[in-house]
Amino acid sequence: MRTVRLVVWAMGAALCATLFVGAIRGDKLSAGKASFAYAGALVAISVGVGVWRRRPESRTGILLTALPFAFVLPDLWPVFPRSTLAVTVTLAASWLAAPILAHVVLSYPTGWLSSKVERGLVAAAYVFALVYALPLLLFYDPRSPRYGDVIHGSTCPECALPLTHVTWYDVTRTRQLFDWGLSVLAVLFLAVLVRKLMRASPRGRSVVLPLVAAGFFVAAQFVVQIALYHRPVNSWGSSGWFWIVAIAELAIPLALAAGLLWGRTERSAVADLVVELEHTPPGSVRDTLAQALGDPSLELALWLPEQRIYVNRHGEKLELPTATPERAVTMLGPVEAPVAALVHDPALLERRALLGAAGAAARLALENERLHAELRRQLEEVRASRARIVHAGDEERRRLERNLHDGAQQRLLGLGLALQLARRQLGAEANGTVELLAEAEGELRAALDELRELARGIHPAILTDQGLGPALQSLAERSTVPVTILAVPEQRLGEPIEAAAYFLVSESLANVAKYAHASTIRVTITWRDGEAIVEIADDGVGGADPARGSGLRGLTDRVQALGGTLSVESPPDGGTRIRAEIPCAS
């Protein structure tokens, strides 16, 4: 590769020297102008080769080297008007500078065109240059009288490649078409440049700014030429335009090279990344990486080694896609213990060095991100399992109540009927026994009442069967302190919420009866924005301590398990107000 670069540089030097000598000898340009134009081109070629040497993996160096060639090659024919080779090269290279310029500017600083718009525009420019050059090379006779303004000498040699000369090929008309076409492309190029500038990060913007300015200058001066003269100027004939064009030709490679040689390269993208990561809050590492790699579609999959799964930053499980032409997957960290995987635009695969460096730079932040994701996942699991435990508890209570009801209770009821029957059948004959039986019936009735009370406490059947309204009504009827139910939602709220609300009211009523010395209790349950709000207020002595007693603590747990909150306001002599907010999402 080194030899190739050396040969290319030597060819460039020879070309510039030849043109310089030819231009001065043929009296085509003044010594000053010729020196500026061709010494400048040689400097640009040298810079290009330097960049090429320094960053062989990027196309930027090659493009930068090719650009000054493309600028000066078309000068061959004007300098050597009698040379068949010069004619041929000039025709072939007429518009070669335009696509190379677009390519190198738009792919800067990475050397890769990152968007479809940029790729499309550059491809269009190459096609344009080819479509312009081919007919000229194949069909056009420079000696034809239609040659018009492009003629530089009185005796014109042939092009080296013509298949046939056709008289109908109107070069002036065709050139005009192409000039206008090219100016349209130039305007598009300007628009894409502005877009590139807008999309760059603040640091990236400062990197591309000098080059974008230079590219803007070149494209704009071309558009101005077309607008003013309807064709590109012959800069050799106009001193002002000569300097503008010459400076433009030199400005681009110098701006680019300066940027690159100052180290504003992939390494600097990684350096920026390291600085950015310092200030990246947990959960945002993906965004920072996406910006550093220039891939907005980037997805970050964090590897949890214990569960052996990938998760996103929220801790939700992810399946890595298989690599396709649209999506590529790159693992970060050692193969046996990856830290994370990046799912990204396959274009990034061309920049493995950057991907690897970015991965290494982000290693610590990714470890951190992974721990956060794991924590979130565990929290979510705990939340879910807490809700499951409450649900399982409710289920178990319901089953217990059912068993009591269907089992012991029914047998005791049967027994009660049997005792009644025995009492009847004994009749008046055994007075003492009848009384004894009556007493046994009384005991049995009390036992049944207690059993029913117990079953109701375990789980109120009326709540399952009829919902919160009737269940609360039933609670209110049994309360020793008068209860006013101000509001209960008409619709069913789902078992967990209904159970939580019911037990909250039930426990509160019991507490009020025991401690509050209240004369009235107000219960309000409302349903608003997917949230049940349960309020129990009494006019008692207040001073209730939520930390005291396991009843309220258990209810707080129950409400929190559903993702809700419970608060107790109980100023001394100010009554007690318990308020729970329970979302329905659980």
């Binding site: 009801h405 029914q410 049997a418 029957l421 029913r452 109701r456 059947a461 009737p470 039933s474």
Partner: protein, 126 residues
Amino acid sequence: MWDDDLVPTTLLIVDDHPGFRRFARKLLEAAGFSVVGDAEDGASAIAAVRALRPDVVLLDVLLPDTTGFAIARQLAAGQERPLVVLTSSRSASDLGELIGTANARGFITKSELTVAALAALLSEAA
């Protein structure tokens, strides 16, 4: 005594617990009721009422296939229209307003179910 005044009354017992059906039948027969049949669920209760045309149905609220309330409403809408006495091992307050809307003559908690209570409810009805 109260049962001497009682007009012989035909009665159907509907309950899903066989022990309860057995003891209730013995007790009520001993008290002079004519227990014409029993049923263990809602569907057979409806069939039994059509076939046996009892004067009174002692109807459990919780049945395997439906509720006693639904059966009571269905009977009230039918031709036979027996007197329905609802009963349950649960208390009236556990059942809420449903008792009042069930087209039944009354409700007796099972633990309070005595011949006297049933007779009182029926005579009140008459």
